[in-house]
C-alpha cells in the first residue's frame, strides 16, 4: 500500500503540485449497544479508504474514496487537482511551515489486541456493567455502549514523510435513567483510552455504572436551578469542558487565520487571571486524545496555550503556522480517511493550583457548586460559550446545600477566565468526542476544581 501511495504522490508532483499528501486507512470497529440488559446491536465492521490532499498556487484540493485501485486513485487525484486549480484562481501562495522528513513506524501499546478478543467477550463485559446499574434499584433503566477501533494508517507526503501508524482504542459509555412517581432523571458516565481490550480493566466501569445509577436516583430529589449571575465552583470534569469550549476552540489557529476566532491578535496578552494555565498535551501515554503524529505527519507535542493568564500560543497546522510564523504543534487531525486534517485539540486541561476544595468554597455566601459534564458548545467568532452540568448544588455560607438539576452555564471567552479566583490542587480528566466542521474527534479535557465569579446560569426560577 505504501508503494501505491508513493506512486500517487509522485504523480501529483509531476503534475506541478506544490504539495501532495496521501493517507491510507483501514480500520476495524465494534459497536455494541445494550439497553436494560438486552443486546440491541453488536456491529463489527471493516472499512478502508484513501484521502488525497493537494496544494496548487495557494488553492487546496481534496479527494477521498473507498475504492482502492490505481484507476480510482488516479481519478481521485485528477478531481483533487481540478479543485485545487479552481481554488487557486484568486488566492495568494500558501507557504507551509517546513516539516522535517519523517520515516517512522509507530504502534500504540496493546496488551490484548481487539481482534483477538471475541465479540462474545465484549458483549459479556457490556452486559455485566449494564446489569450492575439496574441492581441499584428497580426504578433504574439503562443504555450502555461499547465501541472499539483499531486502525492501520499510512501517511505519505511529497516532502518525503512516510509514516505507518497502528492505533487502537476502547470506549465505554452509559446513561442511567431513574423513574419515580412520574419523574424521570438521567445521569451519564463514560471512559475511554488508547490500547487494547485490557482498557476495560482500567475503566472501573462497574463502579462507575453503579455510581451513575445512584446519581440518577438522587437527581429525582433535585430542584430546578435558579437563573442569574453567581459565583460558581466547578469540578475537574467541568473545568475540562471550560478549557475545551471557552478557550481551546478559540486557540485553534485555522480559525485564528481565517478571522473566526476572538483570540486573533491576542498573543502575549493577558486573557485570564494568574490562576489560569492551560495545556494541550498529545503525549500523555494512553490518553484518549493522544497521538504520536498528526495527520500531516507532524510530531505531536505538549504545548502551553495560557501561562498564568497570558496567551502563549495557538494550536497549529502547517498552513496556519507557515502563514503566521508560528511553531508547528502537530494538531492537524482528521476523523478518518473521509476527511481533511483540520486543527483539533488533543488532551486539553487547566493546570492544578494549590488550594483545597474547602478553601474554594468557604467564603462563598451564595453560589453554586457544579459537577460532571453534559456537553458544551462555543462560537469562537463571537466569543461566547455554553456548557451543561450533570449535578449542581447551592452553596450557602460556605456549605453545600440543596441539590439542583438541569443546570447550564454561559460566558464570554475574554471575560470568564479573568474571573477565575481560585484553583484547587486536585485533577480530573475525561474523554469525549468533539465535533467541528462535521468531524468527530477523540480527545480528553480536564482540570482541577475552579472558582469563577459572576458566571451566567440558566435557570427556571
Amino acid at each position: 500500500m505504501m508503494d501505491l501511495l508513493i506512486w500517487l504522490v509522485n504523480k501529483g508532483v509531476n503534475e506541478g503540485l506544490e504539495y501532495v499528501e496521501a493517507r491510507y486507512q483501514k480500520f476495524h470497529s465494534t459497536d455494541i449497544e445494550v439497553r436494560d440488559g438486552k443486546v440491541i446491536s453488536a456491529v463489527p465492521g471493516i472499512e478502508q479508504g484513501v484521502a488525497i490532499r493537494v496544494l496548487f498556487k495557494g488553492g487546496w484540493g481534496f479527494s477521498t474514496t473507498n475504492s482502492i485501485s490505481k484507476d480510482s486513485l488516479q481519478s481521485a487525484l485528477t478531481t483533487a487537482i481540478k479543485m485545487a486549480k479552481q481554488s487557486s484562481i484568486d488566492t495568494e501562495p500558501v507557504k507551509l511551515a517546513p516539516s522535517t522528513i519523517t520515516m517512522d513506524k509507530v504502534k500504540v501499546y496493546v496488551k490484548e489486541p481487539l481482534e483477538e478478543v471475541s465479540i462474545e467477550e465484549k458483549i459479556k463485559f457490556l452486559l455485566n456493567v449494564d446489569n450492575v446499574a439496574r441492581e441499584i434499584s428497580p426504578n433504574i433503566k439503562t443504555t450502555s455502549n461499547y465501541n472499539d477501533y483499531s486502525e492501520y494508517k499510512i501517511i505519505c507526503t511529497s516532502d518525503g514523510t512516510q509514516l505507518e501508524i497502528n492505533n487502537s482504542w476502547v470506549y465505554w459509555g452509559m446513561w442511567a435513567y431513574a423513574r419515580e412517581a412520574g419523574l424521570i432523571q438521567s445521569y451519564r458516565d463514560r471512559f475511554a483510552m488508547l490500547g487494547g481490550f485490557e482498557v476495560t480493566e482500567k475503566m472501573n466501569a462497574e463502579e462507575r455504572s453503579r455510581e451513575a445509577a445512584k446519581k440518577a436516583m438522587e437527581l429525582l430529589k433535585a430542584k430546578p436551578a435558579p437563573g442569574g449571575k453567581f459565583t460558581v465552583v466547578i469540578d475537574g470534569v467541568l473545568s475540562g469542558l471550560l478549557a475545551h469550549e471557552a478557550i481551546g476552540h478559540a486557540s485553534e489557529a485555522d480559525g485564528v487565520l481565517r478571522g473566526t476566532s476572538i483570540l486573533r491578535g491576542k498573543l502575549g496578552e493577558k486573557i485570564g487571571s494568574e490562576h489560569v494555565t492551560l495545556m494541550d498535551d498529545a503525549t500523555i501515554n494512553g490518553r484518549f486524545g493522544t497521538d504520536v503524529y498528526d495527520d500531516e505527519g507532524i510530531r505531536a507535542q505538549r504545548k502551553v496555550i495560557i501561562q498564568k493568564g497570558i496567551l502563549k500560543g495557538y494550536l497549529t497546522n502547517r498552513e496556519a503556522a507557515g502563514k503566521m510564523g508560528l511553531p508547528l504543534t502537530g494538531n492537524a487531525r482528521a476523523q478518518d480517511y473521509r476527511f481533511q486534517p483540520i486543527v483539533r485539540m488533543t488532551n486539553t486541561f487547566f493546570q492544578p493550583g494549590d488550594m483545597n476544595f474547602e478553601e474554594l468554597i468557604e467564603d462563598i455566601k451564595y453560589g453554586i457548586y457544579a459537577k460532571g459534564g453534559r456537553g458544551g458548545q462555543v462560537s469562537p467568532a463571537e466569543g461566547i460559550f455554553q456548557f451543561g452540568a450533570q449535578e449542581a448544588y447551592i452553596i450557602k455560607n460556605g456549605e453545600i446545600t440543596d441539590r439542583l438539576r438541569d443546570f447550564s452555564m454561559s460566558g464570554f471567552i475574554l471575560e470568564t477566565l479573568k474571573n477565575v479566583t481560585g484553583v484547587a490542587k486536585d485533577f480530573d480528566i475525561y474523554p469525549s468526542f468533539c465535533g467541528k466542521m462535521g468531524q468527530s474527534m477523540r480527545n480528553t479535557c480536564g482540570g482541577p476544581h475552579m472558582r469563577i465569579e459572576n458566571m451566567m446560569v440558566g435557570g427556571r426560577m
Binding site: T65, I119, G259, A381
Partner: protein, 450 residues
C-alpha cells in the same frame, strides 16, 4: 458492481448460510464541497474544494430469533460473503430476541416527486467558484465593519438499494445541494455574526446572492447591543433555532425506542394534551421536494404521512418495523441507517402547523421579547424530562414591535412540553431546516435570564 446486484448477492448468501431472514442495504454517495472565505485584516482568501465517493453495504441477518449486523466498504463477492458470514456467526452467539417478529413484507413504494436533480450529479464547479469569488468580495465590501465572510456549498447525490428475503426490493437516487453565507463584523467593540443559507433537492433553488444580502442585514442589526431584563417574555424561535432544539428535545422523545423503554417524557402520553391546542405537528415522508422525502425508508417500508400532534393532542410516535411489531402495528416508515450503523429511528419532514400571520405582524405584536436565530447547548437536553437549558445566540430584542438590537448571553431554561404549551402563533416565512419545515414561531411567557 451495481448496488442492486450487491444486495441481491448478500441476501442470497445469507440464506445459503442458514439465515432465517436477511436484509441488505447498500449505498453509494458522491459529494463535492467547496469552502471559501475572505478575511479583511489579514487579506487571506482561503479556498478548498473537495470530493468524496463513499460506498458501503450493510447486512442484517436473523437466525431463529437472533438479529445481527455487519458491514463492509468492499463491494465484491468475496467481501460480501465474508461480511455475511461474520453476521451469521454473530447471530448464532447472540441471545434470541423474543420481541422480534419479522422483517417488513414487500409493499409498493410511495410515488414521490422532486428528490432527484440530475444537475447535481455533475455540479457546475467552475461557475460555482466564480460566483463564490464574487459573493465573497461584494459581501465584504458591503460594510467597512465587516471583517470575515465565508461561503460554503456542497452537492451530494446518493443511491440506495434495499433488498430482503421476503421480497422487498427497492432502489432510488436522491440529491441535495446545501449552501450558505456567513459574515462576521465588529463595530465599536461589538461582534456580530450573520448567517443565511438553505438546503434543497434542486440546484436552481439555491441563491447565494440572496443569502449574502440576508446575512448582511443580520450582521447590521447585531451591531447594536441592547438590554432586556430577565423574566417571562415573548420568545420567537426562527426555524433554524427551533430545529436545533427540537432535534434533541422533541425528535428523540417521539422515537419509539426511547418511548417503549420509558426513557422519553412523552411515554404513555398518547391521547393527552401535550401542546397548545392550536398546534399540529406532522411527520411527512412524501412531501414533494422535501429533504427527508424518499419512496421508502431504509427497510423498504413505503413513506407516509404521520400525524404526531393534532390540535395539541399527542397522536403517534415514529416507528421502524421492529418497534412497530412490538406494538402489533405497522411501521411509520421512519427507519434510518448508515451502512455503518444499525437501524435507528429518524424523523422525516416534520411540519409545524398552527395559526399563521405575516412575519412582520408576528414581530409587530410583540411588546417586549426576543427573536432567536440560533441556540447553543441543545444537545444537553434531558430527553427523559424534556428539560433544556440553552443559550439563545444570536438573538435580538424586540420592543414595541421593533427589533432594536442584539442581546448577548441570554439563557432560556424550561421543558420542551412547557414550551409547546406556550405556543401562540407562527409567521409565514416557512423554511426547511434539517428535518423541520416551519416558519418563525411565537411562544408567550417564556422565562429568560440575561
Amino acid at each position: 458492481m451495481e448496488l442492486i446486484e450487491a444486495v441481491r448477492i448478500a441476501v442470497e448468501k445469507a440464506l445459503k448460510n442458514n439465515a432465517t431472514q436477511a436484509e441488505a442495504y447498500a449505498t453509494i454517495s458522491n459529494r463535492i464541497s467547496i469552502l471559501t472565505s475572505n478575511d479583511r485584516k489579514s487579506g487571506i482568501k482561503s479556498r478548498s474544494g473537495s470530493s468524496e465517493e463513499i460506498k458501503g453495504l450493510s447486512i442484517r441477518v436473523i437466525v431463529g430469533k437472533s438479529l445481527a449486523y455487519s458491514h463492509t466498504t468492499i463491494l465484491d463477492e468475496e467481501s460480501i460473503e465474508e461480511t455475511v458470514k461474520t453476521a451469521i456467526k454473530l447471530a448464532k452467539i447472540k441471545d434470541p430476541d423474543p420481541e422480534f417478529k419479522t422483517l417488513p413484507s414487500p409493499k409498493t413504494p410511495t410515488q414521490v416527486e422532486g428528490i432527484f436533480d440530475p444537475k447535481i450529479l455533475t455540479p457546475p464547479i467552475e461557475e460555482t467558484f466564480e460566483e463564490l469569488r464574487k459573493i465573497l468580495s461584494e459581501g465584504l465590501d458591503a460594510d467597512p465593519n465587516f471583517n470575515t465572510i465565508s461561503s460554503n456549498i456542497s452537492f451530494t447525490s446518493t443511491e440506495r438499494a434495499i433488498h430482503n428475503s421476503l421480497g422487498v426490493e427497492v432502489s432510488f437516487r436522491e440529491t441535495i445541494v446545501n449552501a450558505g453565507v456567513s459574515i462576521l463584523g465588529e463595530k465599536n467593540g461589538i461582534r456580530s455574526l450573520g448567517w443565511e443559507g438553505e438546503a434543497s433537492r434542486e440546484l436552481n433553488k439555491i441563491n447565494l446572492r440572496k443569502y449574502m444580502e440576508e446575512a448582511i442585514e443580520k450582521v447590521k442589526i447585531g451591531f447594536k447591543v441592547d438590554r432586556i431584563e430577565s423574566g417571562e417574555k415573548t420568545v420567537i424561535f426562527s426555524p433554524e433555532a427551533l430545529e436545533s432544539l427540537m432535534e434533541f428535545a422533541f425528535v428523540r422523545a417521539i422515537d419509539a425506542y426511547n418511548v417503549q423503554e420509558g426513557k422519553s417524557y412523552l411515554t404513555g402520553k398518547i391521547g393527552e394534551l401535550v401542546a397548545s391546542e392550536k398546534l399540529t405537528i406532522i411527520d411527512d415522508g412524501t412531501l414533494k421536494g422535501g429533504l427527508r422525502t424518499t419512496p421508502t425508508d431504509v427497510e423498504g417500508v413505503p413513506s407516509q404521512k404521520t400525524i404526531i400532534i393534532e390540535n395539541g393532542i399527542l397522536k403517534s410516535y415514529i416507528y421502524d418495523s421492529y418497534t412497530a411489531h412490538k406494538e402489533n402495528r405497522e411501521s411509520t416508515g421512519n427507519a434510518f441507517r448508515q451502512f455503518r450503523t444499525p437501524i435507528t429511528i429518524a424523523p422525516r419532514n416534520q411540519i409545524i402547523k398552527g395559526e399563521e400571520v405575516k412575519l412582520e405582524e408576528l414581530i409587530r405584536e410583540v411588546n417586549e421579547g426576543i427573536i432567536i436565530q440560533g441556540v447553543m447547548g441543545a444537545h444537553s437536553t434531558n430527553i427523559a424530562t424534556g428539560a433544556f437549558s440553552i443559550t439563545a445566540n444570536p438573538s435580538y430584542i424586540i420592543k414595541k414591535g421593533e427589533i432594536i438590537g442584539q442581546v448577548k448571553g441570554c439563557m432560556i431554561a424550561g421543558t420542551f412540553k412547557e414550551l409547546l404549551e406556550k405556543y401562540t402563533e407562527q409567521g409565514d416565512d416557512i423554511k426547511q431546516r434539517g428535518s423541520l419545515i416551519a416558519p418563525s414561531i411565537k411562544f408567550e411567557k417564556v422565562r429568560i435570564t440575561t
